[in-house]
């Protein structure tokens, strides 16, 4: 796992200078920073206060996705709203139930904000602030979720532990606070209503303001240190030049695909690469910043057949998919035969948003052991990309085209 941690560190240190960690550690707030460009959208930084309230250690948190703090009673709709906010690259503030390491739940005001790179307008990180709040509502949560441990007798009910003043309203038959509570209580009999709409915990206006201030402080620190690193970031989406930048949620979906592929943007001049996954970089020997923004022709070389290049160009012009076998060159100038499949990929507006190019190195046996022929695996990548790109942002209103 060391390489995983190193990857996290590197993602962070390269965007801001390495001094940023100290500055972030000085902040009193509980927050995490996640990187949507890394597969799995992992946490790359957790503040000391966050580790304190969640009872996790840094190593247990870095590299993991934030869903690890969710549990049985976490409101599913809230989780989906957060996902949508990530997909749409906007801020969101809501109350959320999270779980500490020992399984005890706590309510907090969750405030998420994207960090945009000013170079290309992409979201490079998300900052999430967690402000613990006392539960004031009188209702009970009968959230839906799963239970994964058999605890207690079948008949006993173990309501969730709640903060503060609501405690006395909860039926406390036999509950001790130290009991790990991965159970769900059914509160249907606690009052005669029997049916409850799931309720959440409302934060006060003061708490909401506090969360917003925390976010601003964190963003200031990040902005300042990004300037030092020469790669300015900002808290608002700065790139409105109409280029086809990839949303974070799309990047997360694409991260599931382990075969080498790239996405190119046909609407930008010279059809540059806008996404290249790790497998592609490994295959070709280039670093990501060396390929993003460039046309794929850098892979061609002295012995590359011009007719094949023509064939590719024609397919793209006629908006057709094609499969070719082309001689390509790595960064170290060694060559390989590339069974390349290129296909147009449309977004929710129905128009072509990208071209996907899936590469298979001839003679390479990696990953084929799972039973799918290389050509089929290639098409599987195309299908997965098409499904992901076709997703639309669910903001109300007309599509952007």
């Amino acid at each position: 796992m060391e390489s995983q941690l190193a990857l996290m560190d590197q993602s962070f240190n390269s965007r801001y200078s390495s001094l940023v960690r100290e500055a972030l550690d000085d902040l009193p707030d509980s927050f995490t920073i996640t990187d949507p460009c890394i597969s799995g959208h992992p946490i790359v930084f957790a503040s000391r206060e966050f580790l304190k309230i969640s009872h996790y250690s840094k190593d247990e948190v870095i590299g993991r996705n934030a869903r690890m703090f969710q549990g049985p009673e976490t409101n599913r709709k809230s989780v989906m709203e957060i996902r949508e906010a990530i997909r749409e690259e906007r801020t969101i503030q809501l109350s959320l139930l999270n779980y500490r390491k020992d399984g005890t739940p706590f309510w907090m005001l969750f405030h998420l904000s994207p960090v945009f790179s000013m170079e290309d307008g992409r979201v490079i990180h998300f900052v999430a602030v967690q402000l613990p709040i006392a539960r004031k509502s009188k209702g009970f949560t009968s959230g839906f979720g799963r239970n994964d441990c058999n605890f207690g007798e079948a008949g006993s009910r173990l309501p969730e532990i709640v903060f503060g003043s609501c405690r006395k309203e909860v039926c406390m038959d036999s509950v001790k606070q130290s009991v790990p509570l991965w159970t769900r209580g059914s509160f249907q009999n606690l009052d005669n209503r029997g049916l409850e709409v799931e309720e959440s915990c409302e934060a006060s206006a003061l708490e909401k303001q506090k969360a917003a201030t925390s976010i601003n402080n964190i963003l200031s620190v990040l902005t300042h240190y990004s300037e030092l690193a020469g790669k300015l970031v900002c808290g608002k989406s700065c790139n409105l030049s109409g280029t086809n930048s990839l949303g974070s949620s799309l990047i997360v979906s694409l991260g599931r695909i382990k075969q080498s592929f790239v996405l190119t943007d046909p609407q930008s001049p010279d059809m540059p690469i806008v996404y290249a996954n790790d497998a592609f970089l490994k295959l070709t020997g280039y670093a990501r910043h060396e390929v993003l923004g460039k046309n794929c022709r850098f892979l061609n070389g002295p012995d590359t057949d011009a007719k094949v290049i023509c064939q590719i160009r024609e397919s793209i012009q006629t908006e057709q998919a094609c499969t070719v076998c082309i001689l390509n060159y790595r960064k170290d100038e060694s060559s390989f035969w590339n069974h390349l499949h290129i296909s147009p990929v449309r977004n929710a507006s129905g128009k072509i948003a990208f071209y996907v190019g899936v590469q298979i190195e001839e003679g390479c046996k990696n990953g084929w052991g799972r039973g799918l022929r290389p050509e089929m695996r290639q098409l599987g990548v195309v299908g997965a990309v098409k499904v992901a790109v076709r997703s639309l942002s669910m903001g109300a209103g007309p599509s952007k085209s």
Binding site: G40, A321, G350, G371, K386
Partner: protein
């Protein structure tokens, strides 16, 4: 034609003329056809793997069945066997609270759909290319793909829908062609649920529509965004004190009546109960629709409103036959 993407309603595409030849024509096995065969290993048993997840938390990599499914569909599309490119159809969110999605689909044509019944012998013979692959249950540890195999008699079939409503739109025929109709039973439901679990992709959903006028069958497709009904708040109807068990909710604030069933670590029970309810509805000739989402762990049931059914849950005993034709008002 403009279709509103609400699969749970009586989607008109699922109606066709019952006088078509399907019910008279006996099924003949697909002799000589060779297609990829996916061996669903015994590890995909429903009690492990699928439980213990709050939401669909797919592993970091695409599953093998997911890859195969998408690959075969894309191959079919590329070869031009589909009537149109569904990804070229524009999607728009309809203004409103529930964010329904409309699709502008000029290629879709009701007549085309009426003529094509995938389960007639003639249709299958003529359109063998629409048969994407088959899935068979085998006692092996890890799943495997046989690239070209004759179709075992009771294998489940995946047949592409040449008039797709979304990417990956197929008909799922659990347990093959032996049964003329695809009336819901526990065995069929279990098979399609296993497929959903195995695909392990939150974008993949299975649909079933039963109406006395229609020939019912399972369909599936991929759609990356949550469907509107999945975002609606719910009211608990039945949540047992036991940790494992079935939880039943009623979906609030939705234009048609909808119920949500979650297995909470026990998909077998979920399947049994839902299948039982559906069988009962079928016996009563009550039309309904079913939506299986979240990698097979959630099932939405939409009994048709015109019969004004309520789901009444017996809280004391097991989740047995749960439907009553009387009108118990759910106590609030």
């Amino acid at each position: 034609m403009f279709t509103v993407k609400q699969f749970e309603e009586d989607s008109c595409m699922l109606k066709y003329d019952a006088a078509s030849e399907h019910s008279q024509c006996p099924w003949m096995p697909l002799q000589g056809t060779k297609i990829p065969l996916y061996w669903l290993g015994s590890q995909s048993a429903l009690d492990n793997g699928a439980c213990g997840r709050l939401s669909c938390t797919p592993t970091e990599e695409q599953s093998l069945l997911d890859s195969l499914f998408l690959a075969q569909w894309e191959d079919c599309a590329w070869k031009g066997f589909l009537r149109y490119d569904v990804t070229a159809c524009e999607l728009k969110v309809i203004d409103g609270r529930r964010k329904f999605v409309g699709q502008l689909n000029e290629g879709w044509n009701l007549n085309n759909f009426l003529k094509q019944n995938p389960f007639t012998f003639q249709c299958m013979k003529k359109h063998r290319e629409l048969l994407l692959f088959a899935i068979a249950s085998v006692e092996i540890t890890n799943p495997e793909i046989i690239h070209s195999a004759t179709v075992p008699d009771d294998a489940s079939l995946v047949v592409v829908n040449a008039n797709p409503v979304e990417y990956g739109h197929v008909f799922l025929v659990p347990h093959g062609l032996n049964s003329l109709s695809q009336l819901m039973d526990a065995r069929a439901l279990e098979m399609v649920t296993r497929v959903a679990v195995e695909i392990n992709n939150c974008s993949f959903r299975v649909f079933y529509d039963y109406s006395s006028a229609n020939h019912p069958y399972f369909q599936a497709c991929y759609f990356a965004n949550p469907l509107p009904v999945e975002l609606m708040p719910v009211v608990t109807i039945h949540g047992r004190q036991k940790l494992e068990g079935l939880h039943i909710y009623e979906v609030k604030d939705y234009p048609v009546k909808a119920f949500l069933f979650i297995g909470n670590g026990n998909l077998k029970m979920l399947i049994e109960v839902v299948a039982q309810i559906c069988s009962w509805l079928q016996d009563q000739k009550v039309p309904y629709s079913l939506l299986i989402s979240d990698c097979g762990t959630k099932m939405y049931l939409f009994p048709q409103a015109d019969r004004k059914q309520h789901l009444f849950v017996d809280r004391e005993g097991n989740c047995g036959p749960l439907i009553s034709l009387t009108w118990p008002k759910l106590n609030h």
